[in-house]
């Protein structure tokens, strides 16, 4: 009886463990076949995302980068690591201990430290960032793993093994290849596998050391935070199946190898496989060289992830016979870090307050408006804003505001009349998503209290803090990042703080939702195109800006991304067609209480950050 119970409970335990490990994977796989965009609702079987994956040249290129970098890095670091480990086993004890300890540092080091170190190294050596730097970095962080897994195997060897081989006539190289390597194979394989996994899913280091448009899968996925694209599910599914396949092959290989037909096969194959291998290497090296080969006419653009219609980039390249190196960032702050580290771009598309900061730090070129023939297409209301008076440095790219996205079936219209205060209405306890951002949250509180969102008055900030704390006590909101998009498509909560462009998109997927901007004012924002001081080809840069202001291009871009276009014609067209009756696509332009974010003095910024931390930890 007791035994039976023990058996059942241990079975249950194993089942739970498996569930914990594999349920997320299975969900990913299921949703890769979802017919709609949602991650929450399964609406039917379709291969839509697989098709999208194949057609998405950006993702396919990233897959190519990830796989080729992983293969090269694995091969090179395995050889390097193995040789180092062998050499190490022969050196003096003190040296050995020191090197092994030093070898552990990169493994235990947070990735970010390694990443920044490498980035600084490459920058100071003036090595242009791109495929080669990414590969070098991967070799650099993979090698210690190989050393750590190979070294113990070498220690296990009888220290006369190499002598024995040489005694029998083997040269040192033959001894290495015919005796040492076969004996430490398990360690080498383990190291290889580790190196490959570390390389293929690395984000942090790749992000910092890459450049010139070279991106791997992790970077694409990470920068695509705003709209998590189900194409990623399709990709994940393929990767998972590939791994399962590899594991099965590895498990079966020893059995297969011992069967006679395989032996016979094996004896014939080597020459052919070697030739195939050489061919593959050749192609890969060719690809690398191609990547390295600079194009005289190139434009480097740095934009937020999922913030352009890809076809526009291709169209621009074709129209002007040039190459666009297009890279993405996930936030203004990470863009700033990368740019300050010396990475060079021609065009960047930051937000208002960041434009102000970059201009203040003399990082931007003044824009010669006579060289832009499409400047007149922009709505006048969006020009000459306080963060960049006279648009000396920036030309609007997208714009919008922040408001409350609400479920019309749950939230009462009269409740909304309270303005931002509706977010503190106990009737919606546990039913509200706030935006997990200190600046946006303080904006709401400050506007609810009737202050400027750029205030530097600490008393006002303290009152805003109190407002937020009380809100937390009354309605217990959830502070969310960009996952809010998917959650609201699924209709999880009654209200959420959302950017107007995201709201337009969410509303197009869920018709129960409405968008409301309180009268007491909100944050108006503009993301603008700027030309950096580093820009080498300003002619092309001006052409890019003009190209984006072309009405057809602007409306295609706006339709795909869902944000409001600053180009009058495009804005009108989209608001009447694709996003007709979508109040979020048409942010109001006439409320005197609406304001832009301005550059925040570091000391105020720090003060807000402290208060925000206190709010969240209440």
């Amino acid at each position: 009886m007791l035994k039976k119970l023990a058996r059942i409970s241990s079975g249950l335990y194993v089942a739970l463990c498996f569930a914990f490990f594999y349920v997320p994977i299975i969900i990913t796989m299921i949703f890769s076949f979802n017919s709609s965009r949602s991650f929450a609702k399964y609406t039917g079987f379709s291969l839509r995302w697989y098709q999208a994956l194949i057609n998405d040249s950006e993702i396919m290129a990233a897959v190519g980068v990830s796989v080729s970098v992983a293969l090269f890095a694995t091969a090179i670091s395995t050889v390097l690591g193995t040789i180092t480990a062998i050499g190490l086993s022969k050196s003096r004890r003190i040296l050995k201990e020191w090197i092994l300890n030093i070898n552990n540092i990169p493994i235990m080091n947070p990735d970010i430290v390694t990443a920044i170190g490498l980035m600084i190294l490459f920058t100071s050596l003036k090595i242009e960032k791109g495929y080669i730097t990414m590969l070098l970095a991967h070799i650099c962080f993979c090698t210690p793993y190989v050393i750590t897994s190979v070294y113990p195997k070498i220690r296990e060897l009888d220290n006369n093994i190499a002598n024995a081989a040489m005694d029998l006539g083997a040269t040192p190289f033959q001894a290495l290849v015919k005796v040492i390597v076969p004996m430490i194979k398990p360690g080498i394989y383990a190291g290889m596998l580790l190196a490959f996994t570390m390389s293929i899913d690395d984000f942090v280091i790749s992000y910092f050391v890459s450049g010139n448009g070279v991106e791997n899968i992790s970077m694409i996925v990470y920068n695509a935070t705003k709209r998590i694209n189900p194409t990623i599910n399709a990709l994940s599914t393929i990767v998972i199946l590939a791994i399962v396949f590899a594991v099965v092959v590895v498990k079966l290989a020893p059995k297969v190898r011992s069967t006679s037909w395989f032996c016979a096969l094996n004896e014939k194959i080597p020459k052919k496989t070697r030739r195939v291998f050489e061919a593959v290497c050749g192609v890969l090296i060719f690809v690398i060289l191609l990547r390295c080969g600079g194009d005289a006419k190139t434009l480097k653009v740095y934009n937020a992830g999922e913030y352009i219609d890809d076809s526009l980039v291709t169209a621009f390249e074709e129209e002007y016979g040039c190459k666009v190196i297009y890279e993405t960032f996930d936030s203004n702050e990470s863009m700033y870090t990368k740019v300050m580290s010396g990475e060079k771009y021609d065009i960047i598309i930051p937000s208002d307050y960041m434009i102000e900061r970059l201009a203040k730090e003399k990082f931007l070129q003044e824009i010669d408006k006579d060289r832009l023939k499409n400047l007149g297409n922009i709505m006048p209301r969006l020009m000459n804003q306080p963060f960049d008076p006279e648009n000396k440095y920036s030309i609007p790219y997208f714009w919008g505001n922040v408001g409350i996205l609400y479920d019309k079936t749950v939230v009462k219209t009269e409740d909304l009349e309270a303005g931002w205060e509706v977010l503190r209405n106990p009737a919606y306890k546990d039913n509200i998503y706030m935006y997990n951002s200190e600046r946006d949250s303080f904006m709401i509180a400050l506007k609810a209290l009737g202050y400027s969102l750029n205030t530097s008055d600490r008393a006002e900030l303290d009152r805003a803090y109190k407002w937020l704390v009380e809100q937390k006590e009354r309605v217990n909101p959830i502070y969310m990042g960009d996952e809010v998009i998917d959650s609201m498509i699924a209709g999880n909560k009654a209200m959420a703080i959302v950017y107007s462009g995201d709201a337009a998109y969410i509303m197009s997927e869920n018709e129960n939702l409405g968008f409301y901007t309180p009268q007491s004012g909100t944050n108006l924002w503009i993301d603008g195109m700027v030309i950096t001081n580093e820009c080498k080809n300003d002619d092309l840069a001006y052409k890019w800006i003009d190209f984006m202001l072309e009405p057809q291009n602007a409306s295609l871009n706006s339709e795909t991304v869902g944000y409001s276009s600053p180009v009058e014609e495009a804005y009108k067209e989209i608001s009447m067609t694709v996003y007709a009756d979508n109040e979020a696509y048409v942010p109001r332009q006439d409320n005197q209480n609406d304001e832009f974010f301005r550059y925040q003095e570091p000391e105020i910024k720090r003060y807000c950050a402290e208060l925000w931390t206190k709010v969240k930890s209440q």
């Binding site: 002598n163 024995a164 040489m166 005694d167 029998l168 004996m183």
Partner: protein, 345 residues
């Protein structure tokens, strides 16, 4: 006769410590030569210098009259059997033995033939496909020997090859090694710290201590005529007595003068005398010059080991007769039983 291998004043230092302090040695064709000495005396180091795994700091190493100190191991016509065998665990018995021939890219059919011949020589026919890690110690030892011999070296180096085996297996393997050496007819340089093994197998025994060679000779020579106290003590058991050489063939110790057969010492030179325990007879007290009291008697299988306390020292005697403890006895030995040595400085 020319030496096959000659070591001339070989020295070696590890970490500021001189391990070999000038080794001079000639090794001849077909010779079974044993390096014998206590642990740490430099036997393995000497062997590794001959094999080429270590390089000497000074001196010459001649092979067939040619200096080979700088030659890498894979070019030398010597092969080694390691103490812990150093077999290749990823290869089976056949491939282990065939390793040397495969490296030389010998034709497959020849390899097969040779390996089979070797397996027969070491008595492992039929073991070709076996995993080396599944073999017993003795079997692994045989594989190691076959693996070395298949290369037809002129010299086989063996570093304590029987060290890991139990006593019985050791005896068997000693016999077999000797047989193999006779059959293949090559030089064996054998390292051991077991004096019995050295004496029973070798043509020549080289006794080493502390980086020096103490004595080179046949087993009988080093046993019967040890050149100094170290050799006498290390090989077999002995009574070592300080004395004076009165003149040729007359030696004095323990208050008495004895006739002996040793010559060539200065008159009244301080010397040491070796009396092997089995060379001393116990007789009635009035029948001998030296007398003493039996203090202990221990049965050792074939003989008794009897300790006799005389005026100056304890004598050890091996005899098949029983003598009671406390008995007053005389110690007798003939002139040829006395061996006079230089006194160690």
């Amino acid at each position: 006769m020319n030496a096959l291998i000659e070591l001339k004043n070989i020295t070696k230092t590890f970490d500021d410590q001189q391990i070999l302090k000038g080794i001079n040695l000639k090794i001849y064709e077909n010779e079974f030569l044993t390096l014998l000495g206590p642990s740490g005396c430099g036997k393995t180091t000497t062997l590794r210098i001959i094999a080429g795994f270590d390089e000497s700091d000074g001196g010459e190493l001649l092979f067939d009259g040619i200096e080979i100190s700088k030659q890498p191991p894979y070019k030398r016509e010597v092969n080694t059997v390691f103490q812990k065998y150093a077999l290749f665990p990823h290869l089976n018995v056949f491939d282990n033995i065939a390793f040397g021939l495969n490296i030389k890219k010998t034709e497959k059919s020849v390899v097969k033939q040779e390996v089979e011949k070797m397996l027969k020589l070491v008595g492992l026919s039929g073991f070709e496909k076996r995993d080396v890690t599944s073999l017993s110690g003795g079997q692994q030892q045989r594989v190691a020997i076959a693996r070395a011999l298949i290369n037809k070296p002129k010299v086989l180096l063996l570093d304590e090859p029987l060290g890991a085996l139990d006593a019985k297996l050791r005896k068997e393997m000693q016999f077999e090694l000797k047989k193999i050496q006779k059959e293949v007819g090559i030089t064996f340089i054998y390292v051991t710290h077991d004096q019995e093994e050295a004496l029973s197998m070798s043509d020549t025994v080289v006794v080493m201590n502390d980086g020096y060679i103490q004595q080179i000779g046949t087993p009988t020579d080093v046993y019967n005529e040890p050149e100094n106290r170290f050799v006498a003590q290390f090989i077999g058991e002995s009574n070592i007595i300080e004395g004076t050489m009165i003149r040729d063939c007359l030696v004095a110790f323990d208050d008495f003068e004895f006739e002996c057969v040793d010559k060539g010492f200065k008159e009244n030179e301080e010397i040491e005398v070796v009396l092997r325990p089995e060379d001393i007879d116990i007789v009635a007290a009035d029948k001998a010059k030296l007398t003493g009291t039996v203090t202990s008697i221990v049965f050792k299988g074939v003989h008794y080991e009897i300790m006799v306390q005389s005026k100056y020292r304890q004598y050890m005697i091996h005899t098949t007769d029983y003598h009671e403890v406390g008995l007053e006895v005389g110690l007798a030995f003939g002139p040829e039983d006395i061996h006079v040595m230089w006194k160690m400085v």
